[in-house]
């Protein structure tokens, strides 16, 4: 589904990702771990096409297509979703309206009829229940005045609605208390299926107790320095990241 080869990404002229390889097959869950500043968000943003993140080398393919050649909105409509580490506030824009616009943009892309207000409300109600989203959150402005936890839940809510093929979750666990973490994880686990893949970026092992990954990769100073199964996460929890600092031979996934 996603094939990344030797991906290099620069921000404001500084090379941040120095050659990342990653292969994600449908149905898999990959965790990307690593210390702060190692480039995890950079990877997520580059894959979703943030204009500030300049790809200087390597390639990324999504379902065989050149991902890097697609506009960010096209990537999204094709089924790449990123849950933001820092969701953006849009003042005055009704959250429900925003979701409807996003969903209909995608439906239009696939030649499906747009949902009317009634159908949309029904869909929203279903999804909101699973993620314990309060209806009032839909009538507020997008992320405006949301608590950290509400913002993160809103991201996963959007994911549930848009049903992406590939979901990249950037530190979705940060800012969540244990109850919220459980709700969000249940939401994600409920969406796991053989056709959908997840790339879960996290700094802490905690999330991976709830969303159990198939593979764990450690990113350090812009390179994947170690890859393994879910037990790698536990090892990291015990030992910290110190023993894996860049300079160690990178291990491909």
């Amino acid at each position: 589904m996603l094939e990344i080869k030797n991906l290099q990404v620069a921000v404001e002229g500084n090379l941040i990702l120095k050659g990342v390889d990653l292969h994600v097959k449908p149905g898999e869950v990959h965790a990307i771990m690593g210390p702060n500043g190692s480039g995890k968000s950079t990877l997520a943003r580059a894959l979703s096409g943030h204009p500030q993140y300049e790809v200087t080398g390597g390639e990324a393919r999504f379902e065989g297509r050149d991902l890097l050649d697609m506009d960010p909105d096209e990537r999204a409509r094709e089924g790449v979703f990123m849950a933001f580490q820092y969701p953006v506030e849009i003042a005055g824009v009704n959250n429900g309206y925003f979701l409807k616009a996003a969903l209909n943009a995608k439906r239009k892309h696939f030649g499906q009829p747009e949902l009317d207000a009634m159908e949309f409300m029904q869909l929203i109600r279903e999804k909101a229940k699973v993620l314990q989203i309060d209806q009032s959150m839909l009538s507020r402005s997008v992320n405006e005045g949301f608590s950290g936890g509400e913002k993160k839940r809103n991201e996963i809510f959007q994911m549930a609605l848009l049903e992406p093929k590939l979901a990249i979750l950037d530190e979705t666990d940060s800012g969540l208390d244990i109850d919220a973490l459980r709700v969000v994880s249940d939401g994600v686990n409920g969406m796991r299926n053989p056709g959908r893949a997840f790339v879960v970026v996290t700094h802490y092992q905690r999330l991976l107790d709830y969303i159990v990954p198939d593979y764990v990769h450690v990113l350090s100073a812009g390179r994947i320095v170690k890859s393994g199964g879910k037990e790698l996460a536990h090892e990291l929890e015990k030992k910290g990241y110190g023993w894996l600092e860049a300079g160690t031979q990178p291990v491909g996934a």
């Binding site: 849009i90 824009v93 925003f98 996003a102 943009a105």
Partner: protein, 481 residues
Amino acid sequence: MSTSTETIEQLATREYKYGFVTDVETETIPKGLSEDVVRLISEKKGEPEWLLEWRLKAYRLWLTMKEPTWQNVKYEPINYQDIVYYSAPKKKKVLNSLDELDPEVKRTFDKLGIPIEEQKLLSGVAVDAVFDSVSVATTFRAKLAEQGIIFMSFSDAVHEHPDLVKQYLGSVVPYTDNFFAALNSAVFSDGSFVYIPKGVRCPMELSTYFRINAKDTGQFERTLIIAEPGSFVSYLEGCTAPMRDENQLHAAVVELVAHDDATIKYSTIQNWYPGDKDGKGGIYNFVTKRGLCQGRGSKITWTQVETGSAITWKYPSCILQGDNSIGEFYSVATTNNWQQADTGTKMIHVGKNTRSTIVSKGISAGHGQNTYRGQVRVGKNATNARNYSQCDSLLIGDKCGAHTFPYLEIRNTTAKVEHEASTSKIGEDQIFYCRQRGLTSEDAVNIIVSGFCREVFRELPMEFAVEAQKLLSVSLEGSVG
């Protein structure tokens, strides 16, 4: 793949879909302004002597006045002798029914989406259509008259209701007020007249649609709305013009009078031709609008969505004379490409317990310059006056500008005046967030901008809020690549 410089700030051509010209036989007087021209206009309209005298006084005063220069806009000096002051589609003497209207003119309004045939009307909106210098059709006149409501062209009102016109004309905006008001008073050719009798709630939206068609012609219309005690009226004006390389002058005057407990909602959707992407052509929109809250508990609300014109210069204002009267001003002004706007309001608190609210949203894109200029004045006797002002500016790209000039003049210590202002840039992160959810960058800008304007849009009559939103998105087209 798009880079950051491509995402924001890329200017493309924008489409002005109202830019067509109607080929219609007109009666047009030669260019230039003189006492004879003033007399000629008055004569063409068969006006009474007192009105001609009033025009002449205005004209003579205008000759002694200087064009204002304090506003934050730049333009080449206007040659007032190079303007045509009267142009009208030729018609039979009296227009008894719409069938007698020039089919080309009728088609023009059809094309603009303005229904001037009553049977075509859907949503209970009565329309007065002004084509160049004259009103060509007013719908629902008879139906409104059943309730004593007068809605007709200004020219008709001069003949049919001379006492009302005489009593109120110039009572809120005297011809001495300013350069453009004096000019308008001398040469105004038509406009709308509205009178709502005591206790009557006007059952439909009243709307005037202004269309400039003829070349080199100025449009100088005058609107007068009188709301008797306890009455209510919601009025909307819209305007468009053909695309021309020359600038055209539009200098209107609007006067509103609200008596005890009367409410006037006056909404404007201004979409005059803004000029092309290089700043060539476009309308100079120099307008004086003022409302007098004369009665106790009266209320005047100005709502404007200003997307067109090369230059906009207008300050719809309220004089809060009656105790407990309320003045409101809600404004969205966009400037894209080379457009300039200097707009805002004046809230003049005279009576006790008067309240005013100002919400101004300025959006600048391209090389657009957007200035908010607002004055809040609280007089000596205006005990417990309240004002709340909020001025927000949104910048798209970094070649445009936003400026805010609030003026406060407080002469009563019990006054409470609050002012909030903000300037923000439309964020690359906001656009990216929307795009990551599948919206195109144009849709992203539209969504962000409409969110920014929400407090103003919700003041518009339902039927027009959607149109305003569309207009806004068209006017910002090409502001983001």
